[in-house]
């Protein structure tokens, strides 16, 4: 049922109802409601996985020697996950359901300390402009939370 539910939400977004899930999974509506009293409960069960995946990507990205490469790697892999999964996008970027997962935020914020704690003189420190405040504000990519 969970696999069917994830498929359905990935394709149609979170507007799909528990009834839709039941139909898609070829089970009775009652079967779904017995396991999950509300759609939120079902979503939580499904997307715990997706959020774990994103947090794991952030962790892996932090291991890259070059912070710009790590950033690019993270963005591309994050998009790989979310581009094909509308339900995950809606879950992760809307407070109506979850909101940008705290774990991912924490991991990304932690990268600032990670960066500074690992000063390697030979390592190139790629930069990009933080927000749009101009050159004076440029910082290593790892300092950013977004």
């Amino acid at each position: 049922m969970l696999v069917a539910a994830r498929e359905l939400f990935a394709a149609r977004g979170l507007e799909a109802t528990l009834n839709d899930v039941a139909h898609h999974a070829n089970v009775g509506v009652g079967t779904v409601y017995r396991r999950f009293a509300t759609k939120e409960e079902l979503l939580e069960a499904i997307f715990e996985d997706g959020i774990d995946q994103i947090a794991a990507l952030a962790e892996t990205a932090l291991q890259k020697d070059d912070s710009w490469d790590g950033f690019v790697w993270f963005v591309e892999h994050l998009c790989e996950l979310t581009a094909t999964d509308r339900g995950l996008r809606e879950m992760v970027y809307s407070k109506a359901y979850g909101g940008y997962p705290r774990r991912v935020r924490t991991t990304a914020a932690g990268s600032a300390h990670h960066e500074t704690g690992r000063a390697s003189p030979s390592r190139r420190a790629p930069t990009f402009r933080h927000r749009t405040h101009g050159h004076a504000d440029r910082q290593p990519v790892g300092r950013h939370r977004k």
Binding site: L78, A83, T84, Y93, K95, R129, H133, G134, H135, K146
Partner: protein, 64 residues
């Protein structure tokens, strides 16, 4: 980050039946645009602050 990811999703929804990987093109453009170069002009609009980001997420109810 949400903007990049939402963009990838929208491109994918729009054109994945024609070219499922098309989103990669636009993510690459955005990434390239984020990279610092000498002589860049200030962008027309600043990025959202954290509180604004929260407000945007709060206001976006993807139906259901």
């Amino acid at each position: 980050m949400p903007i990049v990811s939402l963009l990838a999703g929208t491109v994918s929804e729009w054109a994945s039946h024609v070219e499922p990987e098309l989103w990669r093109r636009y993510v690459a453009l955005l990434l390239d645009g984020m990279r610092h170069r000498e002589g860049q002009k200030r962008l027309a609009v600043d990025a959202l602050e954290d509180e604004q980001m929260d407000a945007a997420m709060q206001g976006w109810h993807p139906a259901g």
